[in-house]
Amino acid sequence: MEIFSGILSGFQIILQPVNFLYCFIGVFIGTLIGVLPGIGPVGTMSILLPVTFGISPVTGVIMLAGIYYGAMYGGSTTSILVNIPGEAASVVTCLDGYQMAKQGRAGPALGISAMGSFIGGTFSLIGLMFLVYTLSEFALRFGPPEYFALMCLGITTVAYLARGSLLKATIMAVLGLILGCVGTDIISGKLRFDFGISGLADGIGLVPLAMGLFGISEVLTNIEKPLKRMIYETKIRNILPNGDDWKKSTGPIVRGSLIGFLLGILPGGGSILSSFVSYSVEKKISKHPETFGHGAIEGVAGPETANNAATGGAFVPLLALGIPSNVIMAILLGALLIHGVTPGPLMIREHPGIFWGVIASMYIGNAMLLLLNLPFIGLWVRLLKVPYGVLFPLILLFTLIGSYSNSNSVFDIFLMIFFGVVGYVLRKYGYEEAPLLLAFILGPMLEQAFRQSMVMSNGKLSIFFTRPISAIGLTLSIALFASTGLNVFRKTRNKVT
């Protein structure tokens, strides 16, 4: 029952006007940068870090945390409206969310996404509260072999994202893997495929790639025909999701919360997986898998819930062990350390105020975000009615600014343009960009995990099967791969005969 007294004290803290205010500021800024493509929470959080020097640690962390999950909420907005993923986790939302927007159903998409995010976020918070320490022990059991298995699972799901030709999607995935090899090899330190360009020494940036491939190519695709025959249905049907939408979304939301939370606790990349594992799961168990990729609301509900649930999960290693699970957590860690607070098992004992205050603030923050985002749905939907001739320069401008502000490098802008054109051409031939992006993200992690495992096992492949978690993961991947392969085989056999 210590937990309840703790959370109660936490609420007392958050309800203090100062903290409440900063929570709101954080959440607001977070949503703003989430909506703007390219600028991510990392940059903003570190820029605003000095602001936290002058205020108490609780308040500072509350604000920074607010920025983080605010950005998660906002990221889905651009994915749905203009097919530009706000960050890696929102890529999947582009698939069905944007299709829904094209069908005039942007409102329901946004609405479900907001609700799902709220439920996912809250769920993961509850999980966080009660299971923080047990989960952290579990998370530690994931070493390189386990990550390898996880990434394998992830890669096999990538094919599931295809809405068209599976073969072409696979090619895109392989291309994505190849692009992921560009840069400094993590294990040997050697440069690969950099062609001597210093801008490529660290590989192709995710932001330029995503914004080029999704955003710019989308714009190019849209303007190639005379603007009068333009996209968005002017007849926007509903602003809010209807009863049918809700019914369809309940399952995905529940499953998404679980998937997201569990994957989010894994240090280093778990949260990215959450959204597309959720998507693949929903597609697999759906009775109408062919609707996916063409505006199935389950394809929005599940992943959006998952990626917000993953946010809560990401706090687990930080709060329980003092290990940040991604760069954003690292900034929070830094902020805490600067104030002299060491997160970890001792934090609850020594600084219960901060621990519970932050958790309570996340509840309030989630609620704030819901209230903030819902009214805006009407606004966003109306935005879509703006003639494309006016809209697209703004979209392009934001991608330009976003890409530059991400890395302060003009080279990245060139990269983005390059991928924009390439993406445009590829699209015309029926190649989809989502598999490429996801493979691009997973590829290096997969390779790294594999080679690390090889060092661990002194070259024996058996290591993957002697450890329970990785064995399970790999068997699942193989099974999934086999079943997809079988399906394709059957289909082609039918076609030919």
Partner: protein
């Protein structure tokens, strides 16, 4: 047409990775190999279906495509990238907006000017002031913001 794309992908795969043995070259090599296999499949498939549909004239995917616009947009984006750090954010943005709104979006001059200026002001406000993002000054220094 599908052929064209496949072939270009295929030729890309000819660049093999560096030395194999769980070193940096293994993955690229395997991937290159996989890619070639798949591209061959795609080529094969399109050949097969082309044979079936002989006689049907597909509307080429490049039909009715306004290439001019594409080139213009791409060109102006490239120009933006080149000039951004030299002339600074404000001017470059203004220029590109004028081009995009007018030449590609076919808006009237009056609304083009107004919207371009408004946008520049708006983005400056949001990005530089609220979000404290660093946008380049260019040689005009403080004058050009």
């Amino acid at each position: 047409m599908v052929l064209g794309i496949s072939i270009s992908i295929y030729s890309k795969t000819l660049k093999l990775g560096k030395l194999a043995s769980p070193g940096p070259g293994l993955m690229p090599f395997l991937l290159g190999l996989t890619l070639s296999i798949f591209s061959v499949l795609v080529v094969a498939r399109s050949l097969l279906s082309a044979q079936k549909e002989k006689g049907l004239h597909e509307e080429g995917i490049w039909f009715q495509v306004d290439i001019k616009k594409i080139v213009l947009v791409t060109g102006s984006l490239i120009m933006y990238a080149l000039l951004l750090e030299k002339i600074g954010f404000v001017i470059t943005t203004l220029v590109i907006l004028l081009i995009l709104f007018r030449a590609v979006g076919s808006q009237k001059w009056s609304s083009v000017l107004v919207s371009s200026i408004l946008t520049v002001l708006f983005t400056y406000l949001v990005f530089v002031i609220i979000l404290k993002v660093e946008l380049p000054y260019g040689f005009l220094g403080r004058v050009g913001w």
